[in-house]
């Protein structure tokens, strides 16, 4: 476990952390490696090679990709985006994205160090991501399924009105087409720039899950590193199955806040997936490399 707490707060503020070696900046370097065109690669050798933040193992991005962004040496699970999860999970990486026309809006005229509107415009101009969650439908092991997946890169994967609305429509889609629903969480918590509207998404999404449950359809919540705040206080913890990737940090309050509150050091492994499993809050932990098979198995058990 890293000695310095990772700065989730910075991600939620739409910024990178203060510390040089935050996982998000590390992640961005990997992304740079992924996204760098072959012609540019000679000029940006740092994008080609990656170092594992846990064991310092050095390998190329393409080697890492072959291992589904799990460190070949120590099994550390690198943070990846929705596009990687969709590629890993959907058969032949074929899927249809749903509700991608829904965009965040600065309804409150919220201004912190920057206006929310400006923050959104800047991200949209720099990134292909439209918001902190995407929804897609496709087949997993031959079975139809809707998978909603968060993108931590987009304001820390924060829960705002758009995530709430996409989540809701995804549930409607599942009910209309009798499909199981999976949500892959990776988020620092609520989107503060949407104030109470972001808080209300906890109730909004829970209401939709209630309808999904009444329709007798499975809901699987996959928690990945990190999942905090409003997500764990709502649909993140409400799965028929709550499952997680190994070593993911998952909790309600962030470790920094807890440490400041209790004025004590936190025990090794605190708020990791393994800790949650031991305390009875996860059904199982599944390595990314086995995720697809296990998911397909579970869905077929629900069905047959």
């Amino acid at each position: 476990m890293a000695k310095e707490f990772e700065d989730f707060d910075a991600n939620l503020a739409g910024e990178e952390g203060k510390t040089e070696e935050t996982k998000s900046s590390w992640f961005k370097r990997i992304k740079k490696g992924i996204n760098t065109k072959t012609s540019e690669k000679k000029e940006t050798p740092e994008g080609l090679w990656t170092k594992c933040p846990d064991c310092n193992y050095i390998c190329t991005v393409s080697e890492l990709r072959e291992h589904l962004f799990v460190c070949p040496k120590c099994r550390y699970h690198h943070r990846v985006n929705s596009s990687e999860y969709y590629e890993i999970l959907f058969d032949n990486a074929e899927f249809t994205e749903l509700f991608e026309n829904i965009r965040s809006k600065d309804y409150l005229g919220f201004t912190d160090l920057k206006p929310y509107k400006k923050r959104l415009d800047e991200i949209w101009s720099k990134s292909d991501l439209k918001d902190s969650m995407r929804v897609a439908v496709g087949k997993v092991g031959g079975q139809d399924m809707v998978i909603a997946c968060m993108d931590f890169e987009f304001i820390g994967g924060s829960l705002g009105s758009v995530m709430g609305e996409k989540f809701s429509r995804a549930v409607d889609h599942c009910i209309a087409h009798k499909m199981p629903y999976m949500v892959i969480s990776k988020s620092g918590g609520a989107r503060m720039m949407e104030s109470a509207f972001s808080l209300m998404q906890l109730a909004k999404t829970s209401g939709k899950l209630s309808q999904l449950s009444d329709a007798g359809l499975p809901y699987i919540s996959l928690l990945t590193d990190p999942t905090f705040g409003g997500i764990s206080a709502s649909f993140g913890m409400l799965g028929d199955l709550n499952i997680a990737e190994p070593g993911a940090l998952i909790g309600f309050a962030g470790p920094r806040v807890i440490k400041e509150t209790i004025k004590k050091d936190l025990p090794e492994g605190f708020q990791r997936s393994e800790f949650l499993l031991e305390h009875g809050f996860l059904d199982f932990i599944v390595p990314r490399t086995e995720l697809k098979d296990k998911l397909a198995k579970v869905i077929s058990l629900f069905k047959n």
Binding site: D9, L12, A13, N101, I102, R103, S104, K105, Y107, L108, F110, T111, D112, L113, G160, S161, V162, G164, E165, S168, A190, M192, M193, E194, S195, A196, F197, S198, L199, M200, L202, A203, K204, S206, G207, K208, S210, Q211, G229, G230, I231, S232, A233, S234, F235, G236, M237, L238, G251, F252, A253, I258, T261, I262, L266, Q271, F275, H279, G280, F281
Partner: protein, 323 residues
Amino acid sequence: MPSNANRQFLDFEKPVKDLIDEIENTKNRQEKTNIDMSDMIQRLEQNIIEKRKDITKDLTSWQRVQLSRHPDRPYTLKYITKMTENFVELFGDRNVKDDKAMVGGFASLNGETVMMIGQQKGINTKMRQLRNFGMANPEGYRKALRLMRLAEKFNKPIITLIDTPGAFPGLEAEERGQGEAIARNIYEMIRLKVPVICVIIGEGASGGAMGIGVGDKVFMMENTWYTVISPESCSSILWRSWDKKEIAAEQLRLTADKMLGFGLIDGIIPEPVGGAHWDYDEAAQKLKDFLIPVLQEQKQKTAEQRVSERIEKFGKMGFWDEV
């Protein structure tokens, strides 16, 4: 309610304090000199009411937050004892322990049995610690859910009084699943068959508030706040400094009038002039008078109606563009 001599005052309440001091001085003089000054005292007392109105007619969001945390402000048990009869407090989550930051039990409101639930803050240093400053642990939320289920079993309406700076961010809280406890409550509250009325009576901070805050109707008292994060924490995260809490409070639009304007709450419950801390009886009476017709109205609905209307109510909340 504290006597005038024991009252505590916020900065902007200073003019009222001056008047109260003046009355005390006049009374002392009257006693010493044996000259009747009752006219003057009466006039000064009238001035106090005017002054209370005056200093609170144009408050900033941050001042509203300060009023919601006023050290003399009445807390959940105060309202319960003043507005109901036959209160039987029930303890424990039947699993880990009794969380003193969350209280509840059956009571008669206007002759009918209701389940009253709320966070409880302490009235002095010792009690504040016992009540953990109104910050519940998972067992508090599970206790609340147990009581809600009990109410549902006996077909009694539920009234929750919300007053918390947040769910407790502690080590044991995480071990026992703070997130899961709140999530479960939100999920189950949406499905409750009986009427659920929620009232923010002080601080409505984030998931800790919403963990008992999903109802057919949600109201805020006049001098309260409700949003996703406290102004202080918001300042520290978004402004990277603890000093911007006033601006954060403004930007968060966390006051009752703003929340009503957004359609996120269903109404504002009036308080005594200047705030609930000036008169507990009056504050409780105003709350009671407000709630009785609301309960009557909610009782007309069927269980199915209630649940589907709750899902629809929260389902509409949010703003986005479709491109």
